[in-house]
Amino acid sequence: MVDALLSAPSDRPFVTAWIDEDEQETATFGEFRRMAQTQALLLKDNGVSVGDRVVLIMPQGIPLMATFVGAMLLGAVPAILAYPNFKVEPSKYRFGLAGVTANLHARVVVIDNEFPDDLLGHVSLGDARLLRAAEAGVSGGEVDLPDPGNGPDSLAFIQHSAGTTGLQKGVALTHAAVLRHLEHLSAVLSIDERDIVYSWLPLYHDMGLIACFILPMVCHLHVVMQSPLDWVMHPDTMLQIFTDYKCSLAWLPNFTFQFVPRRTPKERWSNFDMSSARALINCSEPVRASSMNEFCSAFAPCGLKQSALQSSYAMAENVFAVTQSGIHGKAGPEVIWADGQRFRAEHFIAQVPEGSPGAIAFTSSGELLPNNRMQIVSDSGEVLSGGYVGEIAIQSDSLFEGYYNRPDLTERAIRDGWYYTGDLGFYLDDELYVVGRKKDLLIIGGENIYPQDIEEIVCSHAAIHDGRAIALGVFNPDLGTEDIVVVAEVEKDELLRQADEIEREIRSSVVANMGVAVRTIFLKPPKWIVKSTAGKAARSTTREKLLKEHPELAGES
């Protein structure tokens, strides 16, 4: 990886940090190398050497990236942790920070000058030295650092798996695994050096780190990035950056495809030019065709090609992508329709014509990358044939070595050489369809109910704020099975006066579409549902909040 950076043409732009319309900072590959070398020397002066963990807690930007690579230049193992911000609950952040830093046993923890003092006590230093990030100078020539002598099987870095609850797990990756992965990924995406990547993704997640930093570094691409917070406040800036920089690639979680058109005033849509987009890859949440269609119809008049809408299934444990939709296709990822009743009762996909009564649409996440294999496994451990829904297990030549310092978690996740992802899906005609998380699945009277399907029906009611409904299973001891409970936000407080009528309508449309009844519907005022990063409804936290407010539900579980 380091060799790839060293061989990049000095004057080619590498990273543009986009702050706002008036402020952007670009580092060429040559400038970036000098910054990384400066950081490497600083880390070396602070005792960092081959194999040492270096923890980075800095805001999104070029200095963070340069320090990350600086550590790699020494053969050390960097790990980026989330930087505190006003959107993260302070208590949750402190808990995560203490646990994750304790597990890494770092030699050095680098924080920036504005890191809040009240959080410092929660960084578990152990024997580590705390270092305030220094300006990464670009003056002077390039420095020759001695080759740390790392082999392909030594650790390159640790990336943390995306988790909304509990401690994030450190995924340890070797140089060889990362490079093999990038070779597969760049081949299926037909990456060439004219590609320009757009990103608002945080660098402490695989999608931001691998697709939008390491891939561009190794393939010598230009990446234009902004901070996730700046994007959330002004989602239309994404369109502006595509227009100004003629970006061709981006990886985006599903909600982005709805969030951007809904938060951008219609009268401004025609100001943007999306014709340069070659692939906008829907990744990291179950892919919904309806969200992608919404984005596509909003921005087709701005030159957006339908073929640019793509999908992928990815996870930190496999470096990044497991599947990718065919980017040379004309119409984006495959969409199929299946009999809803058989899907729930038999866990089986029986294809039916589009729009048949009770049918459910599934959007493909694409085909396997080279040297990736997949099994769909039932609860009893039996390997299922095509069309049956079960847990997705994968094998590949870029799979992680294990969770850092956590043999217990590693043993649970990797069994007989297969990594059990905890995601449910099915494999049909060489395409993977992801249907949800295993732990979210509701089992109602022997039927498998995916909360996302109920939520989509609830949100289609005009009085409910789109994306702000959560379906939960609550155990009913009288019946010995789970009951469905729905909590949903109305668009305006005034609508709560018509709660009875709205509830009745939602109940009947859930029964009509899914054949199951909802026990209780809680209609809540706007902003009641707990959101995770950038606006997704957070299932587990919302569940806790609901049980706290309605202890009668908890009493029955």
Binding site: I19, D20, E21, D22, E23, P59, Q60, Y83, P84, N85, F86, K87, V88, E89, P90, E114, P116, D118, S227, L229, D230, V232, M233, D493, P525, K527, V530, K531
Partner: protein
Amino acid sequence: MTPEAQQMIDQVAKLIRKPNLQIDENTPLVSSGLIDSMALVDLLIKLEDITHLRIPAGKVQPKDMNTVALMFATAQRVGKPRK
């Protein structure tokens, strides 16, 4: 109190939905649990509107938004004039 501060207080009152609660410029909002972190995004957008400043969200911590007075001080400290 400035009309801007009053506008901000009205916005906060809307977000917390407790019609009888009196809020002034110095009522603690975050540390008291009256508003949650997600509501802060909306408040920050409102603050940009009222002050006509661009506020780099990355430079704002929860404590900077604890009271309406602090919000305006934060806007002055980190905000940039908009075109």
